[in-house]
């Protein structure tokens, strides 16, 4: 097992799993901090993956594919905003509806646009190639992890400090935090919390869209029904665990991404798939339990004089 962790090809596969989780979780962080209970990241991610394939197939450029993915995600964000913010629908109900909608809609569009069932692959889908980072090759473990990945991985890494700065120093970041903590304060200041939350949902859609693009035009060059495969849910867990803080999100995304990647690996070693499929969720439970113990320990100490 240890041997496996230091296998360069395993290390190189980790970012492929980290990227979609991290991007979706950063999007989820925007909603979390803005006070929107968005657990539709799975649907946003799936829609992004599909839109990426559409954009890339018709334009021949992975970048336009990524742009299409962002637009697809934003569209889902707008659907969420319409039903939750404007019509006052319960966020859990709206989320579940969007997750189901995304699954159905992508399957339907797959048939309508590409006349394909279940999966669609075509040489015309232009995918992201690896970006070579000079000077990293000789490093053990870190070299393969941080070198030769898709541009979306580096984008996701850059997005972490940017998000941190955004929440701390940006005008909209400040308002997003206010919308999540005491929206009445925004109203008193003449700013509509609903509008702030709309922006958060749109940003969330764009980031989830990029995460979807990583799944469909960077990890592979194809779309498969329901290919987000629970990563949106893992992103939701990551957001709730970190309360939407970007740096801890990076850590959690790496933990989940590594386990996700590992589960594929051990499957290749002959472990039954039913078991390996459980691994990311077992890891989630393990993190939840560890964190709750740690928090309990802290509050017990913090309560003493």
């Amino acid at each position: 097992m240890l041997e496996l962790l230091f296998d360069p090809s395993f290390a190189a596969s980790v970012p492929r799993f980290v990227t979609p989780i991290l991007l979706a979780a950063l999007g989820g962080a925007l909603c979390e901090r803005a006070g929107v209970f968005n657990i539709a990241l799975e649907g946003f991610l799936l829609m992004g993956a599909f839109a990426a394939v559409v954009g890339s197939y018709f334009s021949g450029s992975p970048w336009l594919g990524a742009l299409a993915a962002m637009l697809g995600g934003v569209a889902m964000g707008l659907v969420f905003a319409e039903f939750n913010l404007r019509r006052g629908g319960d966020p859990i109900v709206v989320s579940i509806a969007i997750n189901i909608l995304a699954a159905g809609l992508t399957t339907y569009l797959l048939r309508a646009i590409f006349d394909a069932m279940g999966a669609f692959s075509d040489p015309a889908i232009a995918g992201f190639g690896p970006v070579s980072i000079p000077g990293l090759g000789w490093l053990p473990v870190l070299g393969p992890v941080f070198g030769g990945q898709s541009p979306l991985f580096y984008l996701a890494l850059v997005a972490v400090p940017v998000a941190s700065l955004f929440f701390a120093r940006h005008r909209l970041g400040l308002r997003i935090r206010a919308a999540g903590e005491n929206p009445a304060g925004l109203v008193a200041g003449g700013v509509s919390p609903r509008r702030v939350r709309l922006y958060a949902l749109m940003g969330c859609g764009a980031l989830c869209g990029l995460g979807g693009a990583q799944l469909s035009i960077a990890n592979v060059n194809l779309f498969v029904e329901n290919m987000s495969a629970g990563r949106g849910w893992i992103a939701v867990v990551a957001v709730l665990l970190t309360r939407g803080r970007p740096w801890p999100l990076l850590l959690i995304a790496f933990i989940f991404g590594t386990v996700d990647s590992l589960s594929f690996r051990v499957q290749g070693l002959g472990m039954p798939q039913q078991f390996t499929d459980m691994m990311p969720y077992l890891a989630t439970l393990a993190v939840l339990i560890t964190l709750s113990w740690w928090r309990r320990g802290r509050t017990a100490n913090g309560g003493a004089p």
Partner: protein, 506 residues
């Protein structure tokens, strides 16, 4: 800037909250708007600030008609409002709170905090305000939070400042400091609107007074043309209730005994605290909100566990009993937050009136509730406590604040328990209801019940208590006999540990 409200009328459904009110606010003046809760003061100011659109009437700034579509319009034209409930973000720093919604943004929309900082320093110097800009608001006292709210308006260059009940949460010293700042604004030519129900403050600070009752403007003019008594009569619309006579009583057995109690608090532990409340006395706990009163009450009622120490009720240890057991042993509790703890707003008056009753058999028939008996009981309460409501089957949410509180007070006092705990029982209710609730608490005392009163309104504690305990920073900072209480001494205790030398208060 000269502001005029002309013929403002606001209706909420069938209720007319403000009817044809006109008044003028002049620069360099403090204009006090007084009236009972529900008289329409706050609604009127919400109109001025763009939070409520009037059905009729106009707002004029320097002679020009204005129409606000949102508070943003009002803010842009130089109006600023400090709301009764602060609108601050606890997790943010003072500086972040002040710039929020008026951020000086540079490249990429990044907030230029250093520009804001230097501008604030100038403003603070001009008006003699001192405050650390980088402290998180969560760590500020209520008085400091108010300073943040005031700075927020100044930062937006407000020319007209509206303050809604600004002193209700302040110590006397903090109030003095606020008034000094407001005087400095007046000198600087700003117009200040002070919404209040405290007449002493009106007499101290105002240049002009407007009295409102039941949505109408009763009187408006210079302070020098009227008197405190006249204003008071205008507020209640008739003769004032006579001052309460206090029957002399010797307190009996201790009903509540708390020894060395420690409770976990939001910022550090509360305690160790010891106190006793005897039959036939009202013990008042004064102090600025957030000094451990809430934690103390939660531990006594059983809502929060005690870390150490003992609580005895009627001579029986109750430290490890749950809320229900303690209530049955003889405890009633009027909680501070009637909206969430005191009442179930989505339930009917009758259901609320019967919540937590001991003699269940009188209100059930077999396994079912006896709705008729419940309604009879609720009607009794409505009549006895003069609660203005449609009837027992009306939803609790439909009542006004004062009537909600009367329902809570009525339900708890009707249980006739040896111990009554009242936590800010008159918070946000009108003068009539305050007088009534005070009367009921006094009646309980005179009938030999033990009353523990926690209030952030010093006047209330002083008017009712036989003994006054002052809490500061989680400890009892001092004790004063009710007859010897004066505001200055208590005010000092509210902010210092100087008098904290009381291992056991007998």
């Amino acid at each position: 800037m000269r502001v005029a409200l002309c013929g403002i009328t606001v209706r909420f459904g069938a209720l007319t909250a403000v009817e044809d009110v006109s008044l003028a606010i002049e620069p360099g003046e403090v204009h006090a708007v007084v009236g009972e809760n529900g008289a329409g003061k706050t609604t009127l100011m919400n109109v001025l600030f763009g939070l409520v659109a009037p059905q009729a009437g106009a707002i004029r700034l320097d002679g020009q008609d204005r129409r606000w579509t949102s508070p943003q319009d009002a803010i842009r034209h130089g109006l600023g409002m400090v709301h009764q409930h602060f609108m601050l973000q606890e997790s943010m720093s003072v500086l972040e709170n002040i710039v929020l919604c008026a951020e000086p943004a540079g490249r990429f929309g990044l907030v230029d905090f250093s520009a804001a900082r230097s501008r604030l320093r100038r403003i603070a110097e001009q008006h003699g305000i001192s405050l650390a800009l980088d402290r998180p608001v969560a760590r500020l006292s209520v008085g400091e939070r108010q300073v943040v709210e005031v700075l927020k308006m100044l930062y937006r260059q407000a020319e007209v400042l509206i303050l809604d009940e600004p002193t209700s949460v302040l110590t006397p010293q903090e109030k003095d400091r606020l008034f000094a700042t407001l005087r400095s604004f007046r000198t600087a030519g700003k117009a200040i609107v002070l919404i209040t129900h405290k007449l002493d403050e009106v007499m101290e600070l105002a240049d002009r007074v407007s009295v409102m009752r039941a949505g109408r403007l009763v009187w408006s003019g210079r302070l020098s043309q009227t008197s405190k008594e006249e204003i008071a009569r205008g507020i209640v619309g008739g003769a004032l209730p006579p001052a309460r006579q206090r029957a002399v009583r010797t307190p009996g057995e201790p009903v509540l005994a708390v020894r060395d109690l420690e409770v976990a608090g939001r910022s550090g532990a509360v305690g160790p605290l010891s106190l006793r409340v005897h039959a036939g006395e009202i013990v008042g706990i004064a102090g600025v909100a957030g000094n451990g009163q809430g934690e103390l009450i939660q531990a006594i009622t059983g809502l929060a566990p005690a870390l150490s120490g003992e609580i005895a009720l009627c001579g029986r240890p109750v430290t490890h009993l749950d809320v229900e057991r303690r209530r049955r042993l003889g405890m009633s509790y009027i909680p501070e937050d009637r909206q969430r703890m005191g009442l179930a707003l989505g339930a009917t008056v009758s259901e609320n009136a019967n919540a937590g009753r001991d003699d269940r058999r009188a209100f059930t028939r077999g396994p079912f509730l006896d709705r008729a008996a419940m309604a009879r009981f609720a009607s009794g309460l409505i009549e006895r406590f003069r609660i203005r409501v449609g009837g027992p089957s009306a939803l609790a949410a439909t009542m006004s604040g004062g009537n909600k509180q009367k329902l809570v007070v009525g339900r708890e006092l009707a249980r006739n328990t040896p111990l009554v705990i009242a936590e800010n029982p008159t918070w946000g209710v009108d003068i009539g209801a305050i007088d009534f609730i005070h009367g009921e608490l006094m009646r309980m005392r005179d009938e030999g019940h033990a009353v523990l009163l926690v209030s952030t309104e010093l006047d209330e504690v002083m008017a009712l208590s036989d003994r006054i305990l002052v809490m500061y920073a989680g400890a009892i900072a001092g004790e004063v006999a009710g007859t010897e209480a004066d505001r200055e001494t208590i005010g000092r205790m509210m902010t210092s540990r100087a008098h904290q030398a009381l291992p056991e208060v007998a």
